[in-house]
Structure formats: structure tokens, C-alpha cells
């Protein structure tokens, strides 16, 4: 930051110091005061149309829209004065006169800003006696449905498509109280980032088809996580209902994804709820694989591995912690590790610097490479005759059983039992991405934490715990009770991770010591149009 001039002002009796050019609304946030607003969004250009954020500025003749008014030295701002409360009450009443009040059947209910502010400072009743305006719901294409009756015309969606997605798709059609959000002729919401308008919509006017009528907001459990579906590593909130992931939504992080996430990442969560899982540790007996207890399975695996060369086929979905422990396993017998990654088309979000749905569709490609796993197309190409093949999270899709046959022995450490691993002698079932805690490293070398969103089925254990126990059984010093301890070990043994810890990472993440330098993400040009 260039030395910006600091401006001092008073908001609701609290003194605030912010850089020159800050809006009153943002300045109030720094003092812990949320000025109610609808059309303002920090990731979008300012519109100043909802008139909800009106505040009283001493010596100003009129109430000021705090989203569009910059701070001035010595300003005295009253957010909750009688005058500003009265104005906001008026706006809320006006917004509600044509609002259907169908909260009991509205998906947004419970996370609706119109509900929240109405309960907070709205009128108890309405004086509106006239018929309400009605417009039919419209399918906007992609994952988006528009319910015009609930719309408050904040135009966040229009501005997102125009100024962030750079693909003008939506507009305000008609005028006055007939106004509604319209779609340009021949356009629809199939832009790879279009579903963000559903999150941006402060009310239930824009809904996700995927989430439609699936759950009420208050039934959801919310977990801070990372989207595992590509190497961008967008920060997300993983929402579960009855132990099923039902929705992923972006969690703001100005260094990674600003306020957004792509549709592919957002909608690709069903694999985390996979039903046909490996649920019990198994060891091969005379009649094939037989379920056993963890101690027996771990020691069986340790016996298989001891003194042998291990070839590890890892999944780039695994955490830094698990991959680190796998490298320990590798080093024990002079083995090697590879991984492969599925690819798709890259889809950038032009309005935000360095944000895209990436070509490589896995969470921890950078981490895996950094920890010494080789990226390859031919996963088992390097498997030597007689090596112990350790399948770690890899599904072996498209790989022939004959390729596996080269291995002297097979150990599967996975959530799902791959078909090609039919001759495995030990199966150690592990939790999947949504069921354990850990860190992943995104394509810019940023290490970010994710936490457990759902409970793993059966006797499944977190991968870092299983691998730690296995190393212990092989006589290694590996006594881990928490993933943070694994990470601490990683930080002391790998110079790239030096100095990092769960505490310092927090939930915004930090770059690796040797990560390529990336400037702070420039927020999109916030200017009145």
C-alpha cells in the first residue's frame, strides 16, 4: 500500500481511522458497526440504489448513502439515530409492499437479508392495502432461477455479470415499479461463474436449481473448507444436512477467490457423499479379503511393507499431511511416488485477477509435487517388478488389472475400493476430503486449511492417523494425535513449509516460503458506473 492519508472520524460515538477514500460503510465495518445495506457489495461497483444504508452525517442537510459517501476528517456519523432509523424503516416497508412474504416456502429464508433487517429494524405491520405486483418465475439457464416477485432490484446480479464476469447477460427491464431483472435476448446464465449471482442475491429472487427446496438454512451445518475441485483452492463454506454435503458456497479471501467460486466447483460435491465406501480395515486371508480390526490391519500392512521398495500411487486430493507421511513411507524402503490429475478446460473470471477454474482438477497438485511426487500420465509406468504398490486415495479408473499385476504386493489406503486393486493384501479405509482435517497447497503455493464437514462412515479413520500408525508399526518415530502435529513435523522437515503452523495459517492461509511471489489481488475497479 502506498502511504494513504489517514482520515479520523466518529461513527456512532466510536473514533475510527481509515485511509482516505474509504466509504463510510467500510469505515463503520472496521469499528464493528454493520450499516444495513442491500445493493452494496465489496466485490462489485457501487450502485447506491437501495437507499438502505442511509446514515446521518452531522452538518449535512440530507441523509447520506454510506456506501457511496467517502469519509472526511472530523465527520460525525450516526448510524442508529432516529432520523436514519426512520429512513431505513421506510425503505424496508417499501421493499416489502410488493414482496410476497412467502418465507415459509422460500429457499432464502433464514439467510435472507430482507428478513434479517426487517426483524432488526422494520415495521411490525404493513400499511399496504393494494394488490401486489406479480410476475412469473423464470428459468435463467445454468443453475439459476429468477423469482421476480421477491426481487428488490438491488442489481447486484446485473453488476456481477457486467463488471466481474464481463459477460453482460442480465439487465433491469421495464421501469418504475414494473421493473424486473431481465435476460438479454439469446443469452443465459451458462457462464462458468454465473451461479455466483445466487450468493450475491440478498433475497430469494435468484435461486440455485441444484439446491432448490433441498434444505432450510437453519438445518445446515457450516464448515470452513477449501474447494477440492481444482488447483485454485477457493475458500468455501461446506454445508451439510444430516451428514450429507448439500451445498458449497464461497468464503471470502481476497488472496485467492475474492468473494466468488465457479459453478463447476460449487456443484461438484456429490462424490463426497459417496455411498459405496470401504468401511472396515481388511486383510487378505484364505478366502479373500476379510474385515478385521485396525491393529491387525496396520500390523499386516507394516509386515508387507517392511524392507520392501514401496511404489506409491497417490491422489492429488490428499492433504499435505498425508502426502508428507506417504513420503516417509517411501523413504523407508527407497521407493517412489507418482500421481495423476484429471484435466478440464480453464475458465477464468475476468473481473478478478488470477482467479480461474483451473485446468487441473484436484486440490493439492502443487503440494504433491513439492513433497516429491511425480506428476505423470501413466500412473503405474514406474512400478517395478515385485514392488509393493501402495494405492493412496487413487481410484485407478481406466487402469488395467494387468498393470497392477506387476506389483509384488498391493496395499490400498483409500475411501473407495478400486476394482483394479482386487489382489490387495491389506485395505486401510480412510476418510475423504470432506471428512477429515488438513491443509492443501494451491497452484500459487498458498497453504490453506480445511476442516471436517461430515462424519466418516463405518470404522474409517482420517488418512494422516492411519499413515501415522502405519509408520509407527514400521518402527518409525510417528506419534501423532492431531493433524496439526503432522503439519508441525512437516514444517520442520521440509524447508518450503518452514515457519508455518495451523495457528499462523488460520483460515486465510499463507504462501509457502518459496512460493512464486503474487501481488495482492487487486479488487475489481470499484467505481460508480
Amino acid at each position: 500500500m502506498v502511504d494513504a492519508k489517514i482520515v479520523n472520524l466518529t461513527i456512532e460515538g466510536r473514533s475510527v481511522s481509515v485511509p482516505e477514500g474509504t466509504t463510510i460503510l467500510e469505515a463503520a465495518k472496521t469499528a464493528g458497526i454493520l450499516i444495513p445495506h442491500y445493493c452494496y457489495h465489496p466485490g462489485l461497483p457501487i450502485a447506491g440504489v437501495c437507499r438502505m444504508c442511509l446514515v446521518e452525517v452531522e452538518k449535512a442537510p440530507k441523509l447520506a448513502p454510506s456506501c457511496a459517501t467517502t469519509v472526511a476528517e472530523g465527520q460525525v456519523v450516526r448510524v442508529h439515530s432516529e432520523k436514519s432509523l426512520d429512513a431505513r424503516k421506510g425503505v424496508l416497508e417499501m421493499l416489502l409492499i410488493n414482496h410476497p412474504l412467502d418465507c415459509p416456502i422460500c429457499d432464502q429464508s433464514g439467510e435472507c437479508e430482507l428478513q434479517d433487517y426487517t426483524y432488526q429494524e422494520g415495521r411490525n405491520d404493513s400499511r399496504y392495502r393494494e394488490p401486489k405486483r406479480f410476475n412469473p418465475a423464470e428459468d435463467f439457464g445454468g443453475d439459476v432461477i429468477y423469482v421476480p416477485n421477491r426481487c428488490i432490484l438491488c442489481t447486484r446480479c446485473v453488476r456481477f455479470m457486467d463488471d466481474v464476469a464481463h459477460e453482460p447477460t442480465l439487465n433491469v427491464s421495464e421501469r418504475g415499479d414494473r421493473a424486473l431483472i431481465g435476460k438479454f435476448e439469446g443469452k443465459d446464465m451458462t457462464h462458468p461463474w454465473a451461479a455466483n449471482v445466487v450468493d450475491l442475491c440478498p433475497v430469494g429472487a435468484l435461486l440455485s436449481k441444484d439446491f432448490l427446496n433441498k434444505a432450510r438454512a437453519w438445518e445446515l451445518d457450516r464448515t470452513a473448507s477449501i474447494c477440492p475441485n481444482c488447483t485454485q483452492g477457493c475458500n468455501v463454506i461446506m454445508e451439510t444436512r444430516e451428514n450429507q454435503v448439500v451445498r458449497m458456497r464461497p468464503r471470502p479471501n481476497e488472496n485467492v477467490n475474492a468473494f466468488f467460486m465457479c459453478d463447476w466447483g460449487r456443484l461438484n460435491y456429490r462424490w463426497m457423499n459417496e455411498k459405496s465406501r470401504a468401511e472396515h480395515p481388511m486383510v487378505r486371508g484364505k478366502n479373500g479379503l476379510v474385515a478385521t480390526n485396525w491393529e491387525a490391519a496396520i500390523s499386516a500392512a507394516a509386515r508387507v511393507l517392511n524392507g520392501k521398495k514401496a511404489f506409491i500411487a497417490a491422489s492429488p486430493m490428499l492433504s499435505n499431511e498425508s502426502l508428507f507421511l506417504l513420503t516417509q513411507l517411501m523413504q523407508a524402503g527407497g521407493g517412489s511416488g507418482t500421481f495423476r490429475v484429471t484435466e478440464g478446460e480453464e475458465a477464468p473470471l475476468p473481473g478478478v485477477e488470477d482467479l480461474a477454474l483451473r485446468r487441473e482438477r484436484a486440490a493439492n497438485v502443487y503440494g504433491a509435487e513439492k513433497l516429491g511426487f511425480k506428476k505423470t500420465k501413466d500412473l503405474l509406468g514406474g512400478l517395478g517388478q515385485g514392488d509393493v504398490l501402495v494405492i493412496a486415495g487413487e481410484d485407478l479408473a481406466g487402469i488395467d488389472a494387468s498393470a497392477v499385476a506387476r506389483a509384488g504386493d498391493v496395499i490400498v489406503i483409500s475411501s473407495v475400493l478400486p476394482e483394479a486393486a482386487g489382489k490387495a493384501s491389506v485395505v486401510l479405509p480412510i476418510a475423504n476430503f470432506s471428512e477429515e482435517e488438513g491443509t492443501v497447497t494451491n497452484l500459487r503455493g498458498r497453504v490453506q486449511r480445511f476442516t471436517q464437514a461430515r462424519q466418516a462412515p463405518g470404522e474409517t479413520r482420517p488418512s494422516w492417523l492411519v499413515l501415522g500408525d502405519l509408520l509407527g508399526a514400521m518402527g518409525k518415530q510417528a506419534n501423532f494425535f492431531l493433524p496439526s502435529e503432522v503439519f508441525a513435523k512437516l514444517a520442520t522437515s521440509n524447508p518450503s513449509f518452514a515457519g508455518l503452523s495451523y495457528d499462523s495459517l488460520g483460515f486465510r492461509g499463507l504462501p509457502l516460503v518459496d512460493a512464486p511471489p503474487t501481488g495482492p489481488k487487486a479488487p475489481i475497479a470499484v467505481a460508480a458506473r
Binding site: R51, K62, L63, P65, A87, V91, N98, R175, D177
Partner: protein, 437 residues
């Protein structure tokens, strides 16, 4: 008003001198009447001197707000390295106002000249005339005048042979009232939806295409030419009451009067004499009941208020209203006030751009309530609700359309509450039934 035009002897015709003279529309005819002399003089002056003359004249904006024109022009800093623009607001859509239409119909060259002078004075090379979409006839004359002026080298790359560039473009709007709001006009001119912009930044800092812009009303720009020719002092002396209101003003009169039309009087003319003498008084057998003196968005005056009013910026304020655009709407005792107010409210609800919540919802809600009262379905609480909605609609939005809708409602309820209550209590309005002469 019939043409050929015979001005009333008490009128002072400066701008409307050549109304009704078909010949004045052509370049030759206009030159014969002394046209483009002022531009010639202006191009020989320093821009800052032109601004000073206009400042001295006391000319104030004729579009409604009455902002001092010279001061507005002086906001345009010369030599800031940016292109400047002049906008002429010819989107005259205020109900009851039709003075700019007459000016452009009869003296299109006067506006071309005014634009050229204004553009030169503020350091602009381009002037846009944003003309209302419905003004087909004025558009025709304006386009012809611009064409003639270009052909004669009066404007263009080398305006009047002085080497200075002045371009005038006529841009036709699509017929939205809101595009008469200065920033909405600029949005529309740029090709976008005509939504007013948040101020600041003001047009003088960031206007058309993000560049410093001055926007003036048609009448204001046309007045610049006679001021330059006769001097600021001459104009300043044309004032019958308050020295802050100078010059002549065109008033367009419509409604229930004997002689509706456009009248030009000196600022400070007594409104009573204007209505009864110049406009010929009420229709046969009727009585004046109320006047809206400055277009639909100013408060309604009762006859008592109107008769004591002097016609200038301060005089109308003292009389409980505003000068506005000078569109005088006269309402007589045959008109039910609630119907008049319902019609006005409906106009604003129809024309609201719909950006701001209070305006989008409030104008429509107001209309629905007033129409319900008009139809005999109102309750006495509705009046309080209306006043409260009007309060919410005042001073809280980006532009003043919402305020404009509240104004006739509030002034109507305050000054003619009896008519509202009569309808609410089930008493029908009985108009004076008199034969119209």
C-alpha cells in the same frame, strides 16, 4: 397559441421576438434579424470574459433549479488537459412546460448560436443538444439549422473563420421523462439506460463520457446571445422585484384559462395580472381554484397564494411554490383536485426509472392510494399514510423525481384537504356546471 403570433402588449419579447415568423427559421432570415452577431462577438472575446458578462447579467438556469449560469460556467477550468463538453438539455418533458419547444420551433438558429457561445465559453469543442423524442417538429428545424450552420461555416472545424472548432450535435432521446435529469441525460447520451447517477462527482468534474461537462437548458443558452450583445447590465436591469432574478422568462400556460400559450415577461411580473390580463382569466362562468406555476413537480398554489405572487425565483418561493420550469398549469373550480393529483402521481409513477427503492415503490403506492380515494374507496388513515410515504420519498433518493411526486400530493392534501375528506366520507365532487363559452 395561434400563429402568426401577436404578443400581448405587456410582454417583453427578447427570446420570443421572432415567434411566428417562418422566415426566422432559415439561416438567411436569422441573419437578417441580427443572428450570429453575438457568436461573432463571442469568438473575438476571451472565454473568461464571456463568463464574466454572463455572471454580471445574473442569468440563472431556466430549467428549474435556477442555478447561476455564469457560476456554473466558471466551474469548467480551462487548460486541465481534458476535453470539455456542453450539453443542452432540450428534453423538455415537465408536464405543462412547452417553452423550449416553441424556442426550437421558431428560432432554431438561436439555440445553435447559444450552444456555440456556451461551448466556446467553457472551453468545449463539442455541444450536444439532447432533444426530447416526441419533439418531431423541433427536431426537424434543429437538424436543418445545424446543417445550414455547418454549410455556412458558422460552426465546424473553423467556426466563423476564427480557427476555433465548435461542433453541435443534435441527439434525439427516446421519450423518457427521467432523461431530462442531467445525469440521466448523460447516461442516455452515452448509450446506456437513462438512470440518474450518484452525485458527487458532479458533471463539471465527470459528466458526459467521464469528462467535465456543463449542462444548460435551452432557454438559458439562447439568453446568452442577447446578453453578450447588450451587456450584462442591460439584462440585469430587467427585474421588477428581486435583483437576484433578472432578465425575461418564458412561461407556458395551459389548463383552464382563456388564452393558453407561451408568454415572455420580465422577472417579478405580478402573477395575478399575468393570469387575468395576459392569459385572459378563467373560462366563462368558472373561477380559478389553483395554479401549479412551475411544471408538475412544484407545489400547488391556492388562488390566494398565486394572486399575491411575483413571478421570479424568490417570489414563487414566498408564494408557497417554486418557479421551476415556468410551466403554468391553471386549475379551475370544475376540476376535482383529487383527480388532478392522482393524474400527476400516475405520471411520476410511470416515469420513475425504478433505481431507488423509495421512488420505485413510493410513486406507485402513492398513485394507488390517491386513485383509490378518487374512486371513493379511501379511508381517513390513507391521508396520514400518504403524507408519511411522501416524507420517505423526500430527500432520500439519487435524483428528485421521487420528491417531485411527493410535492403535489403533500401540497394537495395540505391545501385542499376538504376535497379529499369529502370523497372519503362519500360526498361526491360536484363540479360547477356552467356552459363553456
Amino acid at each position: 397559441m395561434g400563429y402568426p403570433h401577436h404578443p400581448h402588449p405587456r410582454e417583453t419579447t427578447v427570446l420570443s421576438k421572432h415567434f411566428g415568423e417562418a422566415d426566422a427559421r432559415t439561416l438567411d432570415g436569422w441573419k437578417k434579424r441580427g443572428g450570429y452577431k453575438a457568436l461573432e462577438k463571442a469568438l473575438g472575446m476571451q472565454p473568461v470574459d464571456i463568463v464574466n458578462v454572463v455572471k454580471e447579467s445574473g442569468l440563472r438556469g431556466r430549467g428549474g433549479a435556477g442555478f447561476p449560469t455564469g457560476l456554473k460556467w466558471s466551474f469548467m477550468k480551462p487548460g486541465d488537459g481534458k476535453p470539455h463538453y456542453l450539453c443542452c438539455n432540450a428534453d423538455e418533458s415537465e408536464p405543462g412546460t412547452f417553452k423550449d419547444r416553441e424556442l426550437m420551433r421558431w428560432t432554431p438558429h438561436a439555440l445553435v448560436e447559444g450552444c456555440a457561445i456556451g461551448a466556446y465559453a467553457i472551453g468545449a469543442e463539442t455541444a450536444y443538444v439532447y432533444i426530447r423524442g416526441e419533439f418531431t417538429e423541433p427536431l426537424h428545424w434543429m437538424e436543418q439549422a445545424v446543417k445550414e450552420a455547418y454549410a455556412a461555416g458558422i460552426i465546424g472545424k473553423n467556426a466563423m473563420g476564427t480557427g476555433k472548432r465548435i461542433d453541435v450535435h443534435v441527439h434525439r432521446g427516446a421519450g423518457a421523462y427521467i432523461c431530462g435529469e442531467e445525469t440521466a441525460l448523460m447516461e442516455s447520451l452515452e448509450g446506456r439506460r437513462g438512470n440518474p447517477r450518484i452525485k458527487p462527482p458532479f458533471p463539471a468534474v465527470s459528466g458526459v463520457f467521464g469528462k467535465p461537462t456543463t449542462i444548460n437548458n435551452v432557454e438559458t443558452l439562447i439568453a446568452a446571445a442577447p446578453i453578450l450583445m447588450n451587456g450584462g447590465d442591460w439584462y440585469k436591469k430587467m427585474s421588477l422585484s428581486n435583483p437576484k432574478s433578472t432578465g425575461t422568462k418564458l412561461f407556458s400556460v395551459c389548463g383552464n384559462v382563456q388564452r393558453p400559450g407561451t408568454y415572455e415577461v420580465v422577472m417579478g411580473f405580478p402573477f395575478k395580472e399575468f393570469l387575468y390580463d395576459l392569459c385572459g382569466g378563467p373560462l366563462h362562468g368558472r373561477k380559478f381554484k389553483a395554479v401549479i406555476p412551475g411544471g408538475a413537480s412544484v407545489p400547488i398554489q391556492t388562488m390566494e397564494e398565486a394572486e399575491g405572487t411575483l413571478m421570479d425565483y424568490e417570489g414563487f418561493v414566498a408564494g408557497g411554490s417554486m418557479l421551476g420550469s415556468g410551466g403554468v398549469i391553471v386549475i379551475d373550480d370544475a376540476q376535482p383536485m383529487v383527480t388532478v393529483i392522482a393524474r400527476l402521481a400516475r405520471f411520476f409513477a410511470h416515469e420513475s426509472c425504478g433505481q431507488c427503492t423509495q421512488c420505485r415503490e413510493g410513486t406507485a403506492w402513492t398513485t394507488k392510494i390517491v386513485e383509490r380515494i378518487r374512486d371513493g374507496e379511501g379511508t381517513i388513515e390513507d391521508l396520514d399514510t400518504l403524507l408519511d410515504i411522501a416524507e420517505q420519498m423526500t430527500g432520500k433518493t439519487i435524483c428528485v423525481l421521487s420528491d417531485s411526486c411527493a410535492v403535489p400530493v403533500v401540497s394537495g392534501i395540505k391545501k385542499f384537504r376538504g376535497e379529499f375528506e369529502a370523497l372519503i366520507q362519500g360526498r361526491r365532487f360536484h363540479p360547477v356546471t356552467a356552459a363553456v363559452a
